[in-house]
Symmetry: C2
Subunit: 352 residues, 2 copies
């Protein structure tokens, strides 16, 4: 059995129902109007069900930012040149990027992963070295990668989780991405799964103008028409119109779910990865939290398909794991509200 | 000149434009797509303009939860009995309430204030003792309070800020409320200012049913018809259909603005107070941040009138300062993203 099959097979089919009921019961008895902490209550109950206890501690937090390059950048779909991908990986290592700053605030450690950057990093660089190939092919001309490489990219994500757990077990994982051009495969993925017209799913990425947006839509349509990815086969979609870091992001979700670890996914690209994961293993969704609603219009359709509501909308469109990092603080807070807010009985307040 | 007039007079008419421009410039040069941290960027630039520097430190954070009782509870407008107001004040002091737990996570200190609770607290209780009277009158029969008492409640809020600043200058103030029945005066206040029909502005508070909601709307309408508060006179509105803690909340905003301190307001009741403050002194708005969008339907109309967009919507309807406390972490984070995310030049990344 492959690592991928083995991982999918080891994801539990249900969460801890006893802990979930105990959480719901405590929430109802806390000295506040029933349900008045809204979404925070739902999150805290789900985290209790994942961890099997009321007093969940999310101490060790990790964000893994998966990087990859995209042959389709040849088609002029991004504002930034592809050389920015490796530059930003070095920026993550240096600690000066957006995700580093936000993760630090959330008490999370960021680690970058090379799934398919078109650059040879020094082997001593403290990143996950998981290069499958030097960037995808230009999928307007040929499939982005082979089916084997797609599986390899997902398994690389699973391996990253295994390595993190072996080193120092984490309590919460956040996903993030870096890859110039990667909103294009992400929009292509949700289009392939949903059949929704490409123009409804495609946004401006890092900030392209009207003409470039029109071109981007045409590029995605061309790839879909050429390869006809099978909507019932997530690996077919990933290999034909996906990205190597997107495969890695899918693997992170599957690996975390297999270990019973909550995983919070970031923006359009991370959610494309989460979508691949949950189409392969619907039970993985139990462990998944959607962080923010991106400015990228395709994001909403991904959330709809996953049946998840993002926690915040701060008009982010950055990736890297920035939205996931912001929301780690909210998940952490949710655990505190469940465990630490006292009940009517505990504090002698009259209930309704 | 009264304390109120003096405070309003000392609010600056404009923020530090130089710091604002420097912030905007740095945001544009950070190694990320321009504007990609959305609302976070706007917040950070406004905080820079308030504090007059790029590297804003929000170290000392305070939440003041103003409490008061409401004679209108006689009309059956709340699910909880009025005795819960003093019980919850004691809960805030004990540290077991929702706002305590959330504030602790945000690194903020909570202090309750008695503006008009219908209970005599021990004078040694560590709260702000600012009782104007033992609860408002039932405003379906007479004005909630006199005009003098309305001014006194606002000035009590200003005094609280003065006392906090004298003790240990704060960098950020959050507002919160406690007062059984206080969504009723809050909805009445926005109805009085805006002229919008009461049924469009009135929600279920702590969770009343359809019949009780209908009664609540009728109660508010009756008070507005009886007292005809002058929409151009915030103190007239506060005295006729307001609340003592709402006056205190208005005073907190004015006091903070006069000291150049950013202030983050909580839900429906805190925002009613902020509305009174900003109608008295429109320049106070520069220092004001709306935290969350409450489930209470009147909240939106308050935000519209204030020209503020709430940062989050987690379906809260609790008050106490809970939403303000959650958003303190976001304001703190915003300061870090502005100061600490490196520029393209600093990290050698190619810009677009």
């Amino acid at each position: 059995m492959s690592l991928l099959e083995q991982t999918i097979g080891s994801i539990k089919t249900t969460l801890n129902q006893e802990a979930f009921e105990a959480a719901k019961d405590r929430l109802l008895n806390q000295a506040k109007p029933a349900g008045s902490l809204g979404v925070m209550e739902d999150i805290s109950a789900r985290l209790a069900a994942i961890k099997g206890c009321i007093d969940v501690k999310l101490t060790n937090k990790r964000i893994v930012t998966c990087a990859g390059d995209h042959g389709v950048t040849q088609e002029g779909i991004s504002l930034f040149p592809a050389e920015v991908t490796p530059q930003m990986v070095l920026n993550f290592v240096g600690g000066g990027a957006s995700v580093n700053v936000i993760a630090k605030h959330a008490g999370a450690i960021v680690k970058a992963a090379d799934l398919g950057v078109n650059y040879d990093f020094d082997k001593d660089l403290p990143i996950f070295h998981k290069k499958v190939r030097h960037g995808t092919a230009n999928f307007t001309k040929e499939p982005a990668m082979t089916r084997e490489q797609a599986v390899q990219s997902i398994e690389a994500g699973i391996e990253i989780v295994e390595e993190l757990m072996a080193e120092d077990p984490m309590d919460l994982l956040g996903t993030g991405d870096m890859g110039i051009g990667n909103t294009t495969p992400s929009s292509a993925i949700i289009a392939a799964f949903s059949g929704i017209p490409v123009e409804k799913l495609t946004g401006r990425g890092t900030g392209i103008d009207d003409a470039a947006l029109k071109n981007k839509i045409a590029v995605i349509q061309k790839a879909l028409d050429l390869h006809k990815p099978d909507p019932s086969d997530p690996i077919d979609i990933l290999s034909k119109v996906g990205g190597l870091e997107i495969g890695g992001l899918a693997g992170l979700v599957l690996g975390a779910a297999a270990h019973g670890i909550p995983v919070i996914c970031d923006g359009l690209i991370s959610t494309a990865g989460a979508l691949i994961a949950c189409e392969l293993a619907p039970t993985a969704r139990q462990y998944l939290f959607a962080s923010h609603k991106s400015v990228e219009i395709g994001h909403k359709y991904m959330h709809d398909r996953l049946g998840l509501t993002p926690l915040i909308d701060l008009q982010f469109r950055l990736g890297e794991g920035t939205g996931a990092a912001v929301c780690m603080e909210l998940l952490d807070l949710a655990t505190r509200t469940l465990a630490d807010i006292k009940t009517f009985e505990e504090v002698g307040v009259t209930s309704a």
